[in-house]
């Protein structure tokens, strides 16, 4: 089980604080693909993904128990 915390408008978009993925292991790239397919989340490629308080590259492997956060960069200023 992998917990994925949502930030900013993603919370409203999914209407929840976090998503739960049933996997034991998944790469960051695969996570992006699932978000796009199963959750029809668009612009996934520009979302920054942190694993255990550290941003991760697409090749990195997320393991059960890791805490994942989806951080959308925003443009307001």
């Amino acid at each position: 089980m992998i917990r994925v915390l949502l930030f900013a408008h993603l919370k409203e978009q999914f209407n929840r604080q976090e998503l739960i993925f049933p996997h034991q292991e998944i790469t960051v790239r695969q996570l992006r693909e699932e978000l796009e397919k199963n959750y029809s989340l668009s612009s996934v490629s520009s979302i920054m993904i942190a694993v255990n308080e550290e941003f991760a590259t697409d090749e990195e492997i997320i393991r059960e128990g890791d805490v994942v956060a989806l951080i959308p960069p925003v443009s307001g200023g």
């Binding site: 930030f7 612009s43 990195e60 951080i71 960069p73 925003v74 443009s75 307001g76």
Partner: protein, 336 residues
């Protein structure tokens, strides 16, 4: 120096640090909400020279969060750069304030980097300008401090050339549609918190206290009481075209959007350099709470009171304006 006594008493700055601050040049791109706040704090801190660049004018809806401006400025519709300069000079006449009413795309913008800047602060409201700043900052070897906010959510990160990942390492390419203060709203304390982070890092850079510079990206939500510091090191990409081993500085070369006023129609046409994925675009606009209609050929929505039509081939019409600056600003905020 007496007026800076409380800052000099702060031991990581001291007399030495104050002299350094006094000898430095800061560029702030955009004096909207973040730019207002950071320009004011650095002016109060006694920076030697401050250059501010902004293409917009003061509007009543700015007053809720843009702290350099008062009702009189909105009443006169003064350009932000000019209104900002007036207030900053009233706050501290020791600081040399240079104000440019211009687009970051304009030619003189690059010359500010050529002349030498010690740190650049992000006060922009769009990604296109941030990618441009990022390439210039890498090319001219200047630290720059990203800041952005919307609603009660904010982010900031200081990018040091040769050390940290750059903006393009973090955000690989432009998101296709943007959440901005104009569609999601914003509360003023969010702005001030991002500006506090930006200013603190700017002061560390100005006094050359490299070890103190935060090496993580901060992200917070003031209403939801969340606050995180996320390490970024792993994202530094040797293949990055902006900061990697073989650089092409894409933003300095990318084709710019072409613009034209359509005669007699109060409409500006913009040619986006790429095609639009109308379905995806429509989904995101919907997600931000706006009404939207679309079919295979075009998509219609309303942005800040302007009926806006996007065509799949990359063409875009913004109705209800003849002002290229306004239209460009809308385009960059939402689509660039």
């Amino acid at each position: 120096m007496e007026r800076y006594s409380r800052q000099i008493l702060f031991s990581p700055i001291g007399e030495e640090g104050q002299k350094k601050i006094r000898s430095k040049h800061v560029l702030i791109v955009g004096v909207g909400a973040l730019g207002s706040a950071t320009a004011e704090l650095l002016t109060r801190a006694g920076v030697g020279k401050l250059t501010i660049v902004d293409r917009d004018y003061v509007d009543w809806t700015n007053l809720q969060r843009q702290t350099l401006y008062c009702e009189q400025d909105a009443e006169s519709g003064l350009p932000k750069a000019i209104a900002a300069k007036q207030r900053l000079e009233a706050i501290n006449h020791d600081v040399e304030i240079r104000a440019f009413v211009m687009d970051a795309d304009d030619e003189p913008f690059v010359s500010i980097f050529e002349q030498g800047v010690d740190v650049v602060i992000d006060g922009t409201d769009n990604f296109e300008t941030r990618f441009l700043i990022n390439d210039l900052a890498q090319k001219y070897n200047v630290p720059w401090i990203y800041g952005a906010c919307v609603g009660s959510y904010g982010l900031s990160f200081a990018m040091i050339p040769g050390k940290t990942p750059c903006f393009r390492c973090l955000v690989h390419h432009l998101p296709s549609y943007h959440m901005t203060c104009d569609n999601i709203g914003i509360i003023a304390p969010t702005v001030q918190m991002v500006a506090s982070y930006q200013t603190a890092e700017a002061l560390k850079i100005l006094v050359e206290d490299e070890r103190a510079i935060r090496d993580s990206l901060v992200v917070f939500d003031l209403w939801k009481n969340e606050h995180r510091f996320l390490k970024v090191n792993k994202l530094k990409n040797k293949q990055c075209p902006s900061c990697g081993e073989h650089r092409s500085y894409p933003s300095l070369q990318e084709p710019k959007a072409k613009m034209a006023v359509l005669c007699g129609r109060e409409t500006v046409q913009i040619r986006h350099p790429h095609s639009f994925d109308l379905k995806e675009m429509a989904q995101q606009i919907k997600a931000s709470g706006q009404k939207v209609q679309y079919n295979d050929y075009l998509m219609i929505t309303e942005l800040e009171g302007h009926r806006t039509v996007l065509f799949a081939d990359g063409r875009m019409l913004i109705h209800g304006t003849k002002d290229l600056m306004d239209a460009r600003s809308l385009y960059q905020k939402y689509f660039a």
